[in-house]
């Protein structure tokens, strides 16, 4: 108990100190609160947005886009990564596209994505997918490479075919590294949803941010940003929890 007391006090204290200084600067008129807003104003704005039902509607839109974009990236990424890890030539053939996706500013393509998929949820989902899929593929591929070759040869000796080898041995054995990729992918999918909504959205929390910014509503912008930050932290926490759960059935055979 005592060991954890000081870090929490220092870490929490620093955040509280920042908030108090910000609030004081705004309340005492040291800064123009129209431009800099203040913690109290932001809390009020979140309350207003929540009561009007707008916040919930926006969160709903963004959640659907996130779930679709990330879900597709998880399925496609794990499948591609499995094949790339198992078959060298698949890896060689797809490698150029993986680094292209990784280095290219995907958001730049939003006009084309809007044209192909349609404004709003479809285009934003596509952006989230393209951002999220890279770490999923890379980690899944690495995970397959790292599977203990003894496991594979044991399964082959017992007559496992290629399909059952992939599904029953390689996939389960790769779960821990894959989960790390999925967690990174989830973070990037959230970035994709928010940024995608800036440019190609017709609703959602990122759309709100850019809408309020267009109307110079600093307080409302920051309120929506706070919601995004909280959502990011909650998602990361959930992903970490899932990562631990996914690995909990594993027993250490060497002991």
């Amino acid at each position: 108990m005592k060991r954890h007391g000081i870090p929490v006090l220092l870490g929490g204290g620093f955040i509280v100190l920042l908030l108090v200084l910000w609030q004081l600067a705004a309340s005492l008129g040291l800064v123009n609160s129209f431009l800099t807003s203040s913690p109290l104003l932001i809390v009020q704005a979140i309350g207003v947005q929540a009561r009007s039902g707008m916040l919930l509607a926006s969160l709903g839109t963004s959640a659907v886009e996130l779930a679709l974009g990330f879900g597709l990236a998880a399925v496609a990424g794990v499948a591609a990564g499995l094949l790339m890890g198992r078959y060298r030539w698949v890896d060689y053939a797809l490698e150029p596209y993986v680094w292209l996706l990784y280095s290219a500013p995907i958001v730049a393509l939003f006009p084309l994505l809007v044209l192909v998929f349609g404004l709003g949820t479809p285009a934003v989902t596509a952006i989230a997918f393209l951002l999220a899929v890279v770490p999923v593929v890379v980690n899944a591929c690495q995970a397959v490479r790292n599977v203990d070759p003894k496991l594979v040869s044991a399964a082959v000796s017992f007559g496992a075919g290629e399909t059952s080898l992939l599904v029953k041995v390689i996939l389960p054995a790769s779960v821990p590294t894959m989960m790390a990729g999925l967690r990174l992918g989830l973070g990037r999918a959230l970035v994709g949803v928010v940024i995608g909504e800036f440019f190609a959205g017709d609703g959602g929390i990122g759309y709100d941010i850019s809408y309020y910014a267009g109307h110079l509503g600093t307080t409302d912008v920051l309120a929506a940003v706070v919601v995004v930050i909280v959502a990011g932290l909650l998602l990361n926490g959930a992903a970490r929890w899932a990562e631990r759960r996914a690995d909990s059935w594993r027993t250490n055979l060497n002991q």
Binding site: I6, P7, L10, G11, G12, G13, F14, I15, L18, L35, T36, R88, W89, Y92, A93, L94, E95, P96, Y97, W99, L100, S103, A104, P105, V107, A108, L109, F110, P111, L112, L115, V116, R145, P149, G187, L190, V191, V194, I195, F198, F199, G206, I209, S210, Y212, A213, L216, T218, V221, L222, V225, V228, I229, G232, L233, N236
Partner: protein, 262 residues
């Protein structure tokens, strides 16, 4: 699959030219390019919207020869380099101090981690509101995107230093400064450079997104104006140039990283 495999592959490549990896990759890209070109010229997909590789190249030639690309690139490069430099100057010392001093780390880590785990690009509209649509807001977004990664990695690098080395140095009477310079810094350097690489990658994307969002020049604004008129050729060419630039920056820092790793 065995640990020996890469070494063997590297040797055979040295003697016989590019190996299967390069050939398969090149072939795969060629197949897609040819299919795209054929689909475009036969009208299978709408050329106006999807372009063709030839059209993209032609648009690229015009962009380069007219000097339009280089003019815009200069603006973006200044914003990128300035923001990154600022992030290094602030991030590396801060990360070192946080790795070294327990109380400082405990104070700043929750805030840093919150920023690290959330999409900090969401702050872009806030920065534009506060700093305007000029160079300053782009410098700021590159700084924010890069500095968080740099601090986190620098801190990790210092903390991963083998504590027995520090202890040994201390037993032999090394001063704090000497320990820092001769033990902590060399051991942390690879991780620090890895942080710079990740930060630079995020910075490239940040400057482009920032310019698309509220540009007063630069590559992002070029993208934005060609995108709004659905002029696919230049749009795809510029996107490709940015991708290659980001790749090369990453590659360069990877080389530095392996040079400082012993």
């Amino acid at each position: 699959m065995t640990p020996l495999a890469p070494a063997v592959g590297a040797r055979s490549r040295a003697f016989t030219g590019p190996g299967p990896r390069v050939w398969t990759g090149v072939l795969s890209v060629l197949v897609v390019l040819v299919a795209w070109q054929v689909a475009g010229t036969t009208g299978l997909v709408d050329q106006r919207y999807f372009g063709t590789p030839v059209a993209v190249l032609r648009a690229g030639g015009t962009l380069v020869s007219s000097g339009e690309l280089w003019g815009a690139a200069q603006v973006s490069l200044v914003e990128f380099a300035g923001g990154l430099l600022l992030a290094i100057v602030v991030g590396v010392p801060l990360g070192m101090l946080m790795g070294w001093r327990l109380r400082l780390r405990q104070t700043l880590e929750p805030t840093l981690l919150a920023l690290y785990l959330t999409p900090s690009l969401a702050l872009l509209p806030v920065l534009v509101l506060a700093l305007g649509i000029g160079v300053t807001s782009k410098l700021a977004i590159v700084f924010v995107e890069a500095v968080i990664t740099i601090v986190v990695n620098t801190m990790a690098g210092i903390r991963e230093t083998d504590s027995r080395l520090v202890l040994a140095a201390r037993s032999f009477g090394a001063s704090q400064t000497a320990i820092f310079r001769t033990v902590l810094l060399p051991s942390a350097l690879p991780t620090i450079v890895a942080g710079l690489r990740l930060g630079a990658g995020r910075g490239v994307i940040a400057v482009i997104v920032g310019e698309i969002y509220a540009g007063s020049g630069g590559i992002g604004q070029l993208i934005s104006s060609y995108g709004q008129s659905f002029d696919t050729g230049p749009l795809l060419f510029i996107t490709l140039v940015v991708a290659v630039f980001g790749y090369l920056v990453g590659l360069g820092l990877r080389v530095v990283q392996s040079a400082v790793t012993r």
